[in-house]
């Protein structure tokens, strides 16, 4: 195994260290197609410079081409950028931005299962890249909000047209955002938390 010698490992900067009182963490996942600004959003609200974690997945080929019955496997490394927001002395929020290769996201153990919810970031120039992930979130019962990252040259369809095109459930929030701006990304997370809060109210 390729392991950096202990001497060369750069740990967190002193200001990036969590207090001893940090007792528990929660996570939110930002999903969307390649280049829609997921890492930008993670970076704009994170209190630390975004970090990258990775996982190795094995793809088992199933009956593809003429190799019926053969067990062909290929390993793929999937990387994820993430950031962190200290909510209080005890509670920490981690924000994970999933990269391309969306078929792998849902096999990352516990990534979605334990998450409080997800943000689906979309680019109206390539709306269809988010269709698959929205379907998977619905199937798994992961609550999500949709944030439309507003690029200057992107078509402005209007929020309600996008809601119809994405076939969102009426209660699912959809909002414009500018992922480069901290306040805008923060507002998206606030909308997600309010939405999750409203779900508790309707179930009690």
């Amino acid at each position: 195994m390729d392991f950096k010698s202990s001497d060369t490992i750069t740990g967190p900067r002193s200001e990036d260290v969590l207090p001893h009182t940090a007792a528990a963490a929660v996570k939110v996942v930002v999903v969307g197609g390649f280049g829609v600004g997921k890492t930008t959003m993670v970076g704009s609200v994170s209190e630390i410079r975004p970090l990258t974690t990775e996982e190795t997945m094995t793809q088992a080929g199933i009956g593809v081409d003429d190799d019926y019955g053969s067990e062909s496997k290929t390993a793929t490394t999937v990387a994820m950028d993430f950031g962190r927001i200290s909510i209080s002395e005890e509670l920490v929020l981690y924000l994970f931005g999933t990269p391309g290769q969306e078929r792998f996201w849902f096999l990352w153990n516990g990534l979605f299962e334990g998450a409080l919810g997800a943000v689906v970031l979309i680019d109206t120039r390539r709306l269809e890249v988010s269709f698959d992930v929205i379907g998977r979130l619905e199937e798994r019962g992961v609550p999500f909000v949709v944030a439309v990252n507003e690029f200057p040259d992107a078509p402005d369809h209007g929020i309600e047209t996008l809601r119809r095109a994405l076939d969102l459930e009426p209660a699912v929030p959809i909002m414009p955002c500018d992922a480069r701006r901290r306040e805008s990304s923060r507002d998206v997370l606030m909308t997600l938390m309010r939405y999750l809060h409203s779900l508790t109210a309707t179930r009690v």
Partner: protein, 136 residues
């Protein structure tokens, strides 16, 4: 070219504010099976560690400890998530969980479990998160 789809929910088609209508999502076919992908290795010998489980050292590494163990212990003198350990050590998440599981087994670290989404989300937790976000 196929003609554009009628919008659902009885909305009237016609003029779209942004010009050409956006592509329409089709609901996924539930019978469409997932492609088969599996995580490398067996999970049976690993502690149930999440990306955001916080790890805290309880002791110092023995001088004879493996370098991975020493490195993890050094990084978790203050609470640190498994994801951060993976990032700083430049090791895959599953490899870090193996090292942390060994350290848990020898009682050298403590794991602080994350709060995960449950069937009924915790309202006070969500209120705490909203309060924290407001301060950003």
């Amino acid at each position: 070219m196929t003609p554009p789809q009628q919008p659902p929910h009885g909305a009237s088609p016609g003029e779209e504010p942004g010009g050409e209508a956006p592509p329409q999502r089709e609901r996924r076919d539930p019978d469409n099976p997932e492609r088969l992908y599996v995580l490398t290795g067996e999970d049976s010998e690993r502690a149930p560690l999440d990306l955001v489980t916080l790890i805290v050292a309880r002791g110092e590494a023995a001088p004879t400890a493996q370098p991975e163990h020493s490195a993890v212990l050094r990084l978790c003198r203050t609470p640190i998530s498994v994801a951060e350990l993976s990032a700083y050590l430049a090791l895959p998440f599953s490899v870090v969980t193996v090292v942390v599981t060994e350290l848990l087994g020898s009682d050298l670290v403590q794991a602080r479990a994350p709060i995960v989404r449950s069937a009924l989300p915790d309202r006070s937790l969500l209120e705490a998160v909203m309060h924290g976000l407001q301060k950003l």
